[in-house]
Amino acid sequence: MRLFGFVSIFAMVPVCLAQGDLFESKVRPILLARCSSCHGTSVQMAGKQFTTREGMHRSGSVVAGDVDGSSLIQAVRYAGKVKMPPAGKLADSEIAALEKWVRDGAVWPEGVTAPAVGTAGHWALRPVKKTAAPVVRDAAWARGEIDRFVLAKMEGKGIAPVGDADPYALLRRVTLDLTGLLPTAEEVAAFVADPSLEKVVDRLLASPAYGERWGRHWLDVTYYAETTGVGRRIPLPEAWRYRDYVIRAYREDKPYDQFLREQIAGDEKEENLAATGFLVLGPWAWFSYDRVQMRFDIADQQVDLVGRTVMGLTLGCARCHDHKFDPVTNKDYYAMAGIFLSTQTTARGNGNGGIHLRRFPETAAKLKEHAEAVAAWEKRVAEVEASDKIFKKEQEAVSAKMKDLPADSAERKALQAELAMLKKKTEFAGDRQILAFTKYAQPRWPQAYAAAEMEFPEDARIASRGDAHQLGDFVPRGVLSGVATGEAPPEVPPNGSGRKELAEWLTRPGHPLTARVYVNRIWHHLFGRGIVASTDNFGTRGEPPTHPELLDYLAARLVEEKWSTKKLIREIVLSRVYGLSSRAEGRASEVDTGNELLWRSNRRRLEVEAFRDAVLQASGRLELQGGGPSLPLTAQNVHTIAPFFLEDDSKIEGHVKYRRTVYQPIMRGSQMEDVDLLNVFDFKDPDQVVGVRSATTVPTQMLYLMNSPFLQEESRRMAEGTRGLGDAERVGRLVMATLSRPATARDVEQAKQFVSDFRAGLAKKDAGADAELGAWARYCQALFASSAFLYRR
């Protein structure tokens, strides 16, 4: 029976509960997630709108009861000329749901005629639901549930995964992904002899480098940097403690819920003081004539930080009005803002007192240790001063003798030479340098930038258009009313800021966003693209998940495994899909160019940290120890004697310079000249929450790879380290050190040819130079500068 249209059905058929259910649980989510960006409230391509009852009616795309006569069904079946959605066919189950809905009369319940985008219907706010992995045709391919989720999607599209990666590529991939370093020649040999990935993964997860790699990933979604101020480089010499806290947390596999609780409200316990660096280190000016507005602006950025980082929501929008797209009201915003307004971030009193510092507790042992350090330092100062005095006296004595001698006498010339020697001795004694820095190196009582509770917590008042001077109603401190966790929202006690309650609420197993957002971040780092590509935006303006069931499976697994990051990573990297080859071939490369369905491994540029660390590792210069202060000494003791600004020409201290990149000083604005490559290769802007690093390819980078002293020096060093070896062995060592695989005959042939040609060229230019070494150095540089090194595949 063909009915007249769509609206008549609404009027005639009483809404059957089951049909309404299908609409609410299946149909509307599909329309919202897959159709609304082009056929929604703001954009209506082809004049069609599918997010309201009226719109659907007017579109004429659905004929109630007539599945084959409904153009919407034709389009989603990809049966005719119009194929919708254009980005990719719906899953069979989704198409079936739409068909059933049309067949049953296309019921659109009256109450939801105009569903506001981003209310309870939004997928990310529904409870996490763990479903069994689907049955797949190629059951033998799948190693575990993750594989079945992924394969099912591919089979739905009629494509198949490519083959597995070769063992060299796989070991390089997993070592880079888990530690940010390259596998050593021994590790490569061991893996080839015993290709047990489990062993490798367990070794990597237990290595200290794992914490450095994944700690840095977390720092990307914080505002961590070691300077502050808007436009000013005011050093924050204790900021490293937060960085070290994060790295330690990953090494120890601190459960994610606990990790979050400590960062938001951990200052209750002294050992976690540094954890709240998460909240207090930020891109705010802590000098302003308008203190009220400043406090408010800081709280605003803290609300936004927690929103984006933990929940994938952009809460900042709600400062001035109810969020247009996500379920966050103006009131919700101020409920959370009150929590941070009741939290101390900057020092009290003096307007430019800086970030709030808290001293680590005094214990007898620590006091003793500190006193000893101070005494040793004082003794050292005295020694340096004394020896300096002796040097000075010696020099004065010589000068005095010279005074009355004729200008060109031999005796005077001899004395002049002696004086020059003495001056040199002073310079090189090292003590002079120490003297210059003694002040900066003065031992300090350990302290951390940390949040604290305000003495009198207060609720925030709605500020008209975000202006802290135009205040309206008070809003009780609390959490987002539109995000349900299955439990009653927490009550904030009158004598607390509410941070503890906020942290407790965020880490409830029933919170729909926290686990989803976190597992998606992990997935992003391992696959180069999140299941939700917009890792920091799970709102309606973010991207929908490519594998929603898998996302929920992983979120559920995280909570089941007591929020263990390592266990989750382990399960993911041991899947078959993680170990696929990166080669694009077959039908899949035409059907799914963007590799959304993960039929191959994504080839990705190394992040700048991994690139720099791998270069230093290959050249043998990398210093694996790390931790502790990273700013130049001249930026230490900033609150007493050091200059208030970090000078533009500051140098990184020698003992820090060759450590892993995560331990280098991190500035706001641009990075220090010694680590200029961070500016060139897309390092993360510390002022932003950056879940997805950009990976640009621009000639500036190629100029760096060809011409930077850094790469040239490390290449030369690597060439020096292999001097004296036969050509084949030398190439073998170099290729293994950079590309983690044995050299091929072609590699060796190419190297020999290049070195022989280039050596001749160099010799012609400068007969005195070590042309042999120069040519090999350039060969090494070419290894670093080409795609096999720059990319992880």
Partner: protein, 471 residues
Amino acid sequence: MTFSGNQDRRGFLRSLGGGFGSLALAAMAAEGAVDPLAPKTPHFPAKAKRVILCWMQGGMSQMDLFDCKERLKQEGGKKIPFTVNSTKIRSEETALLLPPVAEFSRVGQCGLTMSNLMPHLTKKVDELCWLRGMVTDSPAHPGAIRLFQTGSSQFVRPSMGSWITYGLGTENRNLPAYMVISPMLYGDDGSPLHYSSGFLPAIYQGMRLGDARTPVKNSKIGYLGDPTLPADLQRQHLDLIQARNRMDQEAAGADAGVDGLIQSYELAYRMQVQAPEVFDVMGESEATRQLYGIGEEATDNYGRKCLMARRLAEKGVRFIQVTDNGWDHHSKIGTGLRKSAMGIDKPLAGLLTDLKARGLLEDTLVVVTGEFGRTPFDQSLGGKREDAGRDHNPNCWTMFMAGAGVKQGLIHGETDEYGWKTVNGQVHVHDLHATILHLLGLDHERLTYRYSGRDFRLTDVYGKVVREVLG
């Protein structure tokens, strides 16, 4: 070790894979070119060969500069007589109409009434093509900037410069095809995405010189050359790098990212030779530097940028963006706007004069605009009425173009009596994009790139060429 041209070509072709769109492939086949930046024939003949976008980030105040409103002058200080749609535009309860902060007079023959804030530009009005009915979608910077720069306020898309470079290639293989001078990189308003190539091949990405925080005279493209190595050995070294890149493509399969890398290397190598000289504006005559206001405190920075733009245009660079920021006058607009206007007035007028004198205006399109306009009513962020400024207004603003293919002395579009809304001759950003492409000989509906199963365009499903402005 070197490769012969044939091997080179095969390597490139092999590496192309499915990564390039139909237009590029068609052009390559037609011209036997293997290189995506080779000059391509446009869809139809056109005068404009390149674009200089003078980007006034923050939003210029139309009713204080170009769009004189008598009623606003008369009713300044009175209540807002029209309804402000609160979901789109913010307004304070206390907001009142703010009269223009500068004096206006009728200038030139075209009938434009312009304020006295830009005396040098005033002399050029008859050579410019004025659009007074510009509209955009978003009242906030991030969305409005993204829409202007990429055609989408919501999604990551290729930038306009990338589309144009993709469509036309470049005339000078020794310089970047697409240069962005001093863009904002940080905060909600700045992002490398504004000049990114999105899903287009990476080679079409804009090359940045400096950033908004750094005076352009202190900005340089780093590591431009290696003084220790003679040119022939540098080439030999690069040949090894490229040979290894191709070996990797063979071993691991084609990859668009590696394609971009290979092409970027060639470009970088050629840039080493030409770029240092092009960016050195001090090589110009004293008279030219003065024309642009170089050496004067207020205009030195923008003057240098404009002169660089002319030098790049002269060398055949396809798309040049010359950024000025700081137009977001929410408060103290009286003093702030004066300063901003002064900073660009002489440099812009100098650029137009210079381009014309060298015949470059014949085939160069100059576009001057920000992302939206400003409100006729005031905003007192500091609380004091005398410090008032104006808020963002996506409903209308004034921009202008000059040069190849556009009518001179035309005033297109009209706003209401207060400068609040466009009433006539509305031009949406999508329409402007369509028009700019048209002026370059590109049909905005045919300049497409297939990505993830769909043909994308700069103008998405929108855009209508503004025929009225075509010369």
